[in-house]
């Protein structure tokens, strides 16, 4: 539980640093915090699974892995803020602090043992996101996105709470283990439990932008400052899936036959909505929004199958996806900034990459690896993510679902490769691009890890 405590305290410290007008210290301080917390997160790695805070939070290798992914993503994204966050906001300290706090929420979502904690975590994370989405105060799109996000998020929260209440009514407990025990001892549970589960799931599925609860995603991702889009599409997703996984496998695996069809239907819808609509997009950023929906679909695939493999599949997939997404947004931000003069549309469209291969081979390569990984091409981490997810579905034997997924993957190749084609095969009028050292480090790191995991997936998969 060290990460939660540390993050909360150090987050406050960062906030106070902001009063000191020493803006230059903010970024290093935040990074330092995240590094410290990342290390702290793994301190108990070899310990037995344990409960904290009067059985409110739970910790084992799985939760630590998810937390690790969240923290690593946060670290990488924060490292990318240099030079961006101060353009888009007047009070950087607040945003750094909010980011740190939101990670607290994410970790709570990952480690909840009691549904109350889940709710708390979701809300901490969500509220932080609402704020960050609207952080570009002068930008109308940013404000609109924040408002939309908030309105719809509130609605979803309501549904979720309702579900929790029903569950409590049915079982008399908020505790994950207790819920599991109840399901096991009552082979034919009441409608109230079923309804509660579905409501709770719907609330959570909203957070991870599963169809048909995904409509907010493109608008919000598009409207939010790119750096926070990256933040949302990685950290929220990872935490959300960790939570759903823990819920389904921890409490409700006993009534798999009840919920799997619903989940399968949502999976198919999500895959379709994400992949098919992504094809149409002219804006790279918007495409990435749909891409995040489609990856939610693949993760749902593994959840729907829910076999012994699913756990490691989801961990692996989340990491692979997060790394590739951060790379992609990173490249986009550099380009948008370096070529600044152009309008919002062109800066974020596929055309922004035209001729990148010639002007800056490094950025082009980073982009390529990231797209390959997202498309699930072998020798990248993304391939193994997809491989493990598909494996779990094969193990469960839901062939038709797999066939849908295969078709969707092929479509995925289509839109991800548009970026690669733009970078290498189209002529562009890009000027010289200067990539700040910090940036370069982050991008190289994400790329190397992506390739490394593509070659040796067992390094990660063997752990959980």
């Amino acid at each position: 539980m060290l990460p939660i405590v540390l993050l909360s305290i150090l987050g406050l410290v960062v906030l106070f640093l902001g009063f000191q007008k020493s803006k230059n210290l903010l970024l290093p301080a935040t990074l330092l915090v995240l590094v410290v917390v990342l290390v702290a997160n793994f301190l108990n790695w070899n310990d037995a699974p344990s409960l904290y805070f009067k059985s409110m939070l739970f910790e084992n290798k799985l939760t630590m892995s998810f937390s690790g992914i969240v923290l690593l993503s946060a670290l990488l994204i924060v490292a990318l803020t240099r030079g961006f966050i101060d353009d888009e906001s007047a009070q950087p300290a607040e945003y750094y602090a909010i980011m740190l706090f939101s990670v607290v929420g994410a970790i709570m979502m990952i480690g909840f043992e009691n549904l109350i904690m889940l709710f708390l975590g979701v809300e901490i994370l969500s509220v932080s996101m609402y704020v960050l989405t609207g952080s570009d105060k002068k930008n109308l799109r940013s404000n609109e996105a924040a408002l939309k996000y908030f309105l719809m998020g509130a609605f979803a929260t309501g549904i979720m709470l309702f579900g929790m209440a029903l569950l409590y009514g049915a079982t008399g407990s908020f505790n994950v283990t207790a819920l599991k025990a109840y399901v096991l001892t009552n082979p034919t549970p009441s409608v109230m439990l079923y309804a509660g589960l579905l409501m709770l799931l719907i609330g959570m599925l909203f957070k991870v932008s599963a169809a048909p609860f995904h409509f907010w995603t493109p608008d919000v991702y598009d409207g939010a400052p790119t750096i926070f889009t990256a933040f949302m599409s990685t950290i929220v997703k990872t935490a959300g899936f960790a939570a759903i996984y823990r819920l389904l496998s921890g409490s409700f695996s006993g009534i798999y036959s009840f919920w799997w069809v619903t989940m399968a239907a949502i999976t198919v819808l999500t895959l379709l909505a994400g992949n098919v609509t992504a094809v149409y997009q002219q804006s790279f950023k918007r495409m990435m929004a749909y891409s995040s929906i489609s990856h939610a679909g693949y993760l749902l695939l593994s959840l729907t199958a829910l076999t012994s493999q699913s756990q490691s599949a989801i961990v692996f997939y989340s990491l692979a996806y997060s790394l590739a997404t951060i790379s992609a947004f990173g490249v986009l931000m550099v380009l948008a900034k370096e070529t600044g003069v152009r309008s919002h549309e062109t800066a974020e469209s596929f055309e922004a990459f035209n001729g990148l291969g010639k002007k800056n081979p490094l950025l082009a390569f980073v982009l390529t690896v990231s797209m390959l990984s997202l498309a699930g091409i072998p020798l990248t981490a993304g391939f193994w993510g997809k491989f493990f997810v598909f494996s779990s579905v094969v193990e469960r034997g839901i062939t038709w679902l797999l066939i849908v997924a295969v078709f969707m993957s092929a479509i995925g190749v289509y839109y991800y490769f548009r970026a690669i084609i733009a970078a290498y095969m189209r002529e562009g009028e890009l000027g010289a691009i200067k990539v700040p050292t910090f940036y370069r480090l982050v991008l190289i790191a994400t790329t190397i890890i992506t390739l490394f995991l593509g070659l040796f997936p067992d390094l990660l998969r063997g752990l959980v």
């Binding site: 490691s312 291969g357 390959l372 091409i377 072998p378 020798l379 391939f383 491989f387 493990f388 598909f390 494996s391 094969v394 193990e395 062939t399 797999l402 066939i403 295969v406 078709f407 993957s409 092929a410 190749v413 289509y414 490769f417 084609i421 290498y424 095969m425 189209r426 040796f456 997936p457 067992d458 998969r461 063997g462």
Partner: protein
């Protein structure tokens, strides 16, 4: 170790090429490819013609998923390894008169491709096979899409998405088979473990199609071929050579390695369908080739027709058919690379590939005519050239399994003559045109490419047993698994 070095040497050479200067990249790439060829020759000389895999290596790789980094060479692999090792240096050499932009990347991609191809042909682990199968696609895609002709982007993109789509089905099939295996350590993805599976007919039917689509797109088999003529035409010639000379063999190889031994019941129900599709492709491709004007496109369609015959031969599940397919893979690789190179020679001098604009080249360079003639004769399967042995065995194999299909497939020897002779006549014979008036004679490097190819045409045609003997034990072993 030898096998592993076959995979690693081109990879290493590719990386070195990537970081060298553009103007010395081609020499470096050639050296790398020649070293590879030497290793392959060593393998060839030390190979024992038995059914087992030799020069094997195996390292645990992804233990949690039972995947090993394991490879080895049996007769079937050896032939394709030899093909790859033989053609790659020639393909590199064929570029020597043609400056390519970003040469270091260009040659690195060729070498990466070679590495992946070696991996495909030697992998003994199913997932490793898949990885290389996909990995081979990336370099050639970039070669085609970056250095290709006008419509390259659209055309190669279709090719890429199409083939990826196909192989995803194979991936699913492989994962499925993986879960069917049992071993003391849990599941395993050794290909040989797949051979021991006995699935029921319905499952085999499904898996058959999953594999078939993947391989049929790769080869390509009718009606999965529409990417192919465009891609061959638009790609830069070295990429076309790689695609037609080696890469399409991955599909045939896959059928031999996976479909035949693993899915006997699937073949029972669907083998004839596959043969019929293949045979349709032979006739269809040949007929289309008759009226083509673009030399590259013409050869592309002829290649499509030829590979249809290989596919039909393999699906005939006869010793003759499979052996024929193997020898024909080698022969076709040699002939088609030679023919595409000749197209490139002509194009580089005349700036046209339209046969209506050519003519009378033989008056300017009899040497080219002779090489072209030899390769063309190999391609139309004249006896004592390499093409004959393959087509003879293939047709016999198809005939053995289905008389009518054999007879229809046989029309390839007529139609093949129709379009190849037309191509040859229109370009070489007749009066010179304004395009061919100042046609320069062959350069040294061009001869250096064509001579080895023509030597192989005759070697394989005169003494095919030196290749058939290598593969027969492995093939008959494989076929025994079908007729259990």
């Amino acid at each position: 170790m030898l096998t592993l070095s076959l995979i690693l040497i081109p990879l290493f050479a590719g990386v070195v090429s990537l970081i060298t200067k553009n103007n010395s990249a081609k020499q470096l790439a050639l050296i790398g490819a020649v070293v590879e060829l030497v290793i392959a020759i060593v393998v060839y000389t030390q190979f024992q013609p038995t059914a087992s895999h030799q020069f094997g290596f195996s390292y645990p790789w992804i233990k949690s998923a039972g995947i090993a980094f394991a490879g080895g060479i049996d007769g079937i692999s050896l032939l394709l390894v030899m093909l790859t090792a033989f053609l790659t240096p020639l393909i590199i050499l064929s570029t020597f008169r043609q400056p390519y932009k970003n040469a270091s990347t260009f040659y690195a991609l060729i070498l990466f491709m070679q590495s992946a191809l070696m991996g495909v042909f030697t992998a003994t682990d199913a997932f490793l096979f898949y990885l290389f199968f996909e990995a081979a696609l990336i370099p050639v895609y970039f070669l085609a899409a970056v250095w290709g002709g006008e419509n390259r982007i659209k055309v190669t993109f279709k090719f890429f998405v199409y083939t990826i789509f196909g192989s995803l089905f194979m991936l699913v099939a492989l994962v499925y088979l993986y879960y069917q295996t049992t071993s003391p350590q849990g599941h395993t993805s050794e290909i040989s473990a797949f051979y021991k599976l006995a699935l029921d007919a319905q499952k085999q039917g499904w898996i058959f199609w999953a594999f078939f689509i993947a391989f049929a797109i790769k080869m390509p088999v009718f009606p999965f071929h529409t990417w192919q003529p465009d891609t061959y035409t638009e790609s830069p010639t070295p990429a076309t050579m790689l695609l037609a000379g080696i890469m399409l063999k991955m599909g045939v190889y896959g059928v031999i390695r996976f479909i035949l031994p693993i899915l006997p019941l699937g073949l029972q129900s669907w083998g004839t369908t596959a043969i019929v599709l293949s045979v349709i492709g032979i006739v269809y491709g040949s007929i289309i080739a008759i009226q083509q004007r673009d030399m590259k496109r013409l050869i592309a369609y002829s290649s499509f027709a030829h590979v249809g015959l290989m596919s039909a031969g393999v699906f005939s599940q006869t010793l003759s058919g499979v052996q024929g397919a193997l020898i024909q893979m080698l022969a076709h690789g040699i002939n088609v690379v030679g023919l595409f190179f000749i197209v490139e020679i002509i194009f580089s001098r005349t700036k046209t590939r339209n046969i209506e604009q050519l003519g009378g080249i033989t008056q300017r360079t009899p040497n080219l005519t002779v090489y072209f003639m030899i390769l063309m004769l190999g391609s139309v399967a004249l006896p004592l050239t390499n093409g004959f042995v393959g087509e003879f065995l293939l047709l016999r194999g198809v005939y053995e399994s289905n008389v009518w299909m054999g007879a229809i497939a046989g029309t390839t020897i007529i139609l093949g003559a129709v379009y190849m002779l037309r191509l040859f006549q229109k370009s070489m014979f007749g009066n010179k045109s304004s395009f061919t008036e100042h046609f320069a004679d062959l350069s040294f490097s061009e001869r250096a490419v064509l001579l080895p190819l023509t030597i192989m045409v005759f070697w394989m045609g005169l003494y095919p047993n030196s290749f058939l003997k290598l593969t027969e034990p492995a093939v008959s072993n494989l076929l025994q698994m079908i007729h259990y």
